[in-house]
Point group: C2
Chain length 595, copies 2
């Protein structure tokens, strides 16, 4: 079916319902980062398949909003359609609400439809307050229009043994009940985010790419939990464990019905940012309370890794370090052959990772990017034909991560393939200096990530340069590689960094049309020291992959960072060498030699 016909059918449908426009976002009902094809309505209707975008369709217009990462790709993919590209956050670009208000000027009675199951309560509230017209909540209308729509599919669900998760479900539930002061059965905590549910119930699924979750909802009550999922997907072991942990399983499609029949005595607790309008509507006139404390939410508990989980992460970074070393040596050994390209190098790393039997797949689409390709922060190639050749010239940036049964990794290294210019060396050094400065931070209890961002970003900004993404994101434990609620970015985020939180540290420099440099380690918040008045934390680096020292301007890096780097490389060598061959160790000892 072509886009023109699809848009025509949608417009006919909107006319029947009696609405003037529809807003079509990118997410699914669970507000996760990765979604099944069933939910890719925006991509299907517009042809633009980037991860972020919002389509607006009126009787005579169709527009797609997306952010700077995707301007080039979207312009390309929208070609040949009537759909206009709206460049988000650029001067002169109205927001969706502003555009709608202007388009329907003089008519406050216009009606804008949204699918209530994929709009969060927060998004709905913002939209309602900013729109001069009204918002009409409808059911998903696309089953009728989208003939080739794939159904939702449910894969197997496995138990994640407590020897990997480190805590029973009962214990997690009790901690939540205490934090949320669940005194009786009249408090119900509703969960829509699949990774929260997987964490809470010690389960892992395979329903979306890159994130080992099962599509599910859950409600937590004082003495039990109900998971709404596909009953036949659970392994026998999972069934047994869940029963033992006071967890009932109900069919996925009974979730909204369950909410509708809840006793009116019930007071429900939800986090608005990941709860849909449909949840609120199903709960009817029962009092919905937004949990005011991040402390009581599953996503907060999940962010603070226990000792078993952090040990698992360390094991994961050890396994991944071995694979990375083999890959870096493989590139060194084969760079002159002319056979390497971005695609087969990414595949090769996967082969090395597979040598660990607990490898469970990539944690995101691998980025392997030569020179100018690396200047788009989210460049990736999914096939050999589009891949650039890797030749001895300039920089190669690799940003990839893996899931292991015991933890998830996310590592970026940029290596030089030829002698560099002074500017290239300096850019590389500034990025490394930022990464190291953040790694060395010592900070008191109560510090927010935004207070530390400048340590990573400062050296780069001091040269009038900038990178347009955060410095650090939380990382799931064999779950989504991007996870909250903490972050290290310029934007204010009230969540403070606490021991057990694991996040990335990835400053960068991008020079459009030329090259991109990013160096990323993963760092764990740990207790540093305590005196009578202060508790200080610092970071422990988990990543074990050599950093290219050929590109460093030592004067610019400075003594204390050089010292850190030499220590780091000593640790990389000591940790990895027992697992490598003699030949590999000769190579590694050169790569990790002190500078």
């Amino acid at each position: 079916m072509d886009r023109a016909t699809a848009l025509k059918d949608l417009r006919a449908c909107l006319k029947t319902i009696g609405v003037d426009a529809m807003i079509i976002p990118s997410n699914d009902c669970h507000f996760g980062e990765y979604v099944q094809n069933y939910f890719c309505v925006r991509a299907w209707l517009s042809g633009f398949d980037g991860s972020a975008g919002t389509l607006v369709v009126t009787a005579d217009k169709a527009l797609l909003w997306t952010d700077s990462r995707y301007f080039i790709q979207a312009a390309d993919q929208l070609k040949g359609s009537e759909i206009e590209l709206m460049k988000m956050r650029m001067e002169g670009t109205p927001t969706v609400e502003e555009w709608l208000n202007t388009h329907f000027r003089g008519d406050s009675s216009f009606r804008v439809a949204i699918d209530g199951s994929i709009f969060s309560i927060e998004e709905y509230n913002t939209l309602s307050s900013k729109l001069s017209g009204s918002v009409v909540v409808i059911d998903d209308p696309f089953n009728k229009i989208w003939k080739e729509r794939e159904p939702i599919h449910f894969g197997h669900i496995d138990l994640l043994d407590e020897r990997y998760s480190g805590e029973s479900v009962i214990s997690k539930r009790q901690r939540i009940a205490e934090a949320l002061q669940m005194e009786d059965e009249n408090t119900v905590y509703i969960l829509s985010k699949c990774d929260d549910i997987m964490y809470l119930c010690n389960l892992r699924g395979c329903d979306v790419d890159y994130n080992p979750v099962a599509l599910s909802y859950a409600v937590v009550r004082k003495d039990f939990i109900i998971i709404f999922g596909n009953e036949t997907s659970f392994s026998a072991q999972a069934h047994e464990y869940l029963a033992y942990q006071s967890i009932a399983i109900l069919p996925y499609n009974t979730f909204f019905g369950y909410l509708e029949q809840l006793s009116p005595d019930v007071r429900k607790i939800v986090k608005y940012d990941s709860t849909s309008v449909k949840v609120r509507e199903s709960a009817g006139n029962i009092n919905l309370v937004e949990d005011p404390t991040p402390g009581g939410t599953v996503s907060y508990l999940k962010s603070i890794k226990n000792d078993t989980e952090t040990d698992g992460f360390k094991e994961a970074f050890l396994m991944d370090g071995i694979a990375w070393c083999k890959l870096l040596k493989y590139i060194d050994d084969n760079i002159e052959t002319g056979t390497l390209n971005e695609y087969n190098v990414a595949r090769q790393l996967i082969e090395y990772r597979k040598q660990c039997i607990d490898y469970r797949g990539e944690s995101f689409e691998p980025i392997v990017a030569m020179n100018a390709n690396a200047a788009s922060a989210h460049y990736s190639v999914s096939n050999a034909q589009d891949a650039a050749k890797i030749i001895p010239e300039g920089f190669l940036l690799m940003d990839t991560g893996a899931h292991y049964l015991f933890g998830t990794t996310d590592t970026t290294r940029t290596v030089s393939l030829s002698p560099l210019s002074q500017v290239q060396m300096d850019d590389y050094t500034l990025v490394l200096k930022g990464m190291i400065q953040l790694s060395m931070a010592v900070f008191p209890k109560g510090t927010r990530g935004s207070q530390l961002d400048i340590l990573a970003r400062g050296p780069i900004m001091n040269k009038g340069k900038m990178y347009f993404h955060g410095t650090g994101h939380g990382i799931g434990h064999y779950l989504c590689v991007h996870e909250g609620p903490q972050s290290i970015r310029m934007e204010y985020n009230p969540v403070t960094l606490e021991p057990g939180m694991i996040q990335s540290n990835e400053p960068a420099v991008y020079v459009e049309g030329k090259y991109g440099i990013r160096t990323e380690n993963v760092i764990l918040v740990t207790s540093y020291r305590k005196n009578d008045v202060n508790t200080f934390y610092n970071f422990e680096t988990l990543t074990l992959v050599p950093i290219d020292t050929k590109c460093i301007n030592k004067d610019l890096l400075g003594e204390s960072c050089i010292e850190w780097l030499n220590d780091y490389h000593r640790q990389v060598f000591d940790s990895l060498s027992p697992y490598l061959s003699d030949e590999e160790n000769v190579w590694l000892s050169q790569k990790t030699a002190a500078i």
Copy 2:
């Protein structure tokens, strides 16, 4: 009258009113930093005369909350009274509300009195929401109890010529009217903070110590301003200017009556943080709107200095630099005589400052503190008897500032008077390194002070040390030396740093019982560079006083900070030497020699 009798009389009074407790804060009706004796009820009742503290009196208890700056002083001054010291923000110390709730356990009907004229609306709202009992707003009850109470006094009010202020009142009023969208006379902006009123009306007074303000209220309307002040205090020149700028003067004590008779059509705009409950009560049932944008407030306009004001600041720091150099040389010349003490050194600096005819007094109580005395961040001596002798041993910390007609200064220098231990040198160097790192910052438009604090605090925290105050505060233009709304501290403050904002940069290390080290420059936000996507700002240092280089551990300071320091000293020498004698210049060239 002794404290016991005063407390007894207050308790009798509370019993008559029918309340169970009273909360007595430190401020006056204008929420300024310095208050007249009339308002020093807390100090009179408790005997504790530090700048910050809250007294709570119930039928059987009296407690004083104060912060870490004052723990030692308060403990000392409370001796011999029944008043218990409550150490704010220390583990285990309840807040005032928590303590009251616990004290009156099981009785939600308890009543707590506050004087509505000295409680801000915000403080009142917080108190009401956290207290399980109720808040009773009463009039100041102390006129009857406090027999020796000094009346409020009003000194002369002078015009600050536009050649110093750089902008007419009409222009400022128009900028406010535009920012607040004052379309007609039905919007009234109420001002209670005296320094906001002085800034707005190009006036300066002398009603409190250290801050050249006149006690006053004001209302701003679209086409005129009314000041409520003491009519006979205004100079003839001020009267003439005010009339010309559409400013009416009404008697100070008619302010609340004016609010009461405002037309009900009026929509008032206030900033809650400096507006009293009594203002809200006087305005009756007229709709009070809290201005949501800091951009429209006088305190925000005031914080962004215009070119005339920044030029004035530069002149002030030049004048002050000359005086400081003379003082530092005077100490060097006389340290061995045994005649120097903390008090006469502070007086000597004032003598040197007076050599500038535009000197208008100190901007705060001078701090000159030997060794252990400097470990209390706000130590000062007000008489020669209590002053410690300055002898060739350890550190001398001096933190003083001056008002000149064209600007205000605030400078701290710590100098070594004898050879130091390695730890002392290192502490000194860490403080200096923090000060320099913040001075060198480059940051994008939109950056908040809390994002930069770590640059100053980082080197100190990396050694597990800490200072318990902010790194930087805004500075008034021949107004209060501590001014908002911007700040550079760990705490979140949404106000972003903008070109024209002037603030201090004062990291420190305190070692109780031994010494205190603080180095403070004043820095101006300036435009640094702009490319197609980013606007970067940096800081220009205004202070021109040599920094003691004898105490520096060069390895610890690091190359880039050494380079900054040498540049700075070159600038200090070049700026000051034309105003100094040959002998002074010989001294200065040694003090500013490159290291």
